[in-house]
Amino acid sequence: MSWPIADLDAVRRLHVLAGAVPGAAAAESVLPASFDQVWAVAADLEGELPRYLPDVRSLRITRVDGDRLEADARGYAGLRAHFDIVLRPGWCVMRSRFLLGAMAAVADGDHTRFAFLAGAQLPVQRVVGPVLSVVGRWSAPRVVARFGERVALRR
């Protein structure tokens, strides 16, 4: 017996997460690169993330346990944040006390669909969620564009 089973790819999962987190914003683009080329940039959090996230000056991985990571980030405005991270091929979720970020990628023929999410964590979710939503809708596509530029440079 073969019952049809519906699958949900990583980009769709990211959109579910965007729908679940108040104020979260997501943007998506099809990049002219293979999945491996795209994910090589996404998975290089220390080297690449500060290059496409404008508020992050540096990020240092402090612990790795399978697909669970921890990292300390520093921002240009003096921000310091500790992140718990889940990282596996095609899927990355980062959570600090106040912030939530996610990336997802799925092969699409010779190209790759890439999506990025920015949101807030409770307790600030309800307070800054509406503001972040506006900011996120403006900034998320720009992050995706900068990410695409990084992929193009590394190809």
Binding site: W3, P4, I5, A6, D7, D9, V16, A20, Q121
Partner: protein, 167 residues
């Protein structure tokens, strides 16, 4: 820590708005919801699964007992799958093709061809009966129809399914 304790902790954290826990819950729920939505929504299964998961998270704060997560999510998934399948109206509106009895050897074949000929509501009955092994009363409660309706649909279905299959 037991699986149940881990699941309870994950649900509670997601209810508090923890994005990492929400992502973990998506991992846990997606295979089950895809299994429920696939046979009902067919080609629209990914859309149905995505919308069912969004509906689950919208209602998650109201889930008092984390141990009831999968039963609760199943009712949402079936409802969303029927809604998505109806919306796209991909099912054939021909005369109802009836269903085999549980364990019927006729089901030991690729069932996709049969499902294509059913309405979304009948796919839901078939899936809940055959795949999840639910009784008629439980199916009726889940689909919000009288138990007699489920029973008569199944009974009538079994007869003409065989005719259709034998063509």
């Amino acid at each position: 820590m037991s699986d149940e304790t881990e699941l309870t902790a994950l649900v509670r954290a997601a209810q508090r708005g923890d994005g990492l826990a929400m992502a973990g819950l998506i991992d846990v729920l997606t295979p089950a919801i895809g299994r429920w939505c696939g046979p009902i929504a067919l080609q629209d299964g990914p859309d149905a699964t995505q919308e069912a998961l969004i509906a689950v998270f919208r209602g998650l704060k109201g889930l008092a007992e984390p141990a009831a997560l999968f039963g609760w999510a199943r009712s949402i998934a079936v409802r969303e799958a029927v809604r998505v399948a109806r919306r796209t109206a991909r099912h054939r509106t021909v005369e109802l093709v009836d269903l085999p009895a549980p364990g019927d050897p006729l089901l030991a074949v690729d069932i996709a061809d049969v499902l294509e000929r059913l309405t979304p509501e009948h796919r839901a009955v078939l899936m809940l009966r055959e795949l999840d092994g639910l009784d008629e009363r439980t199916i009726a409660g889940l689909l919000d129809v009288p138990a007699g309706t489920v029973k008569s649909r199944l009974s009538r279905a079994r007869r003409s399914f065989r005719k259709e299959w034998a063509r």
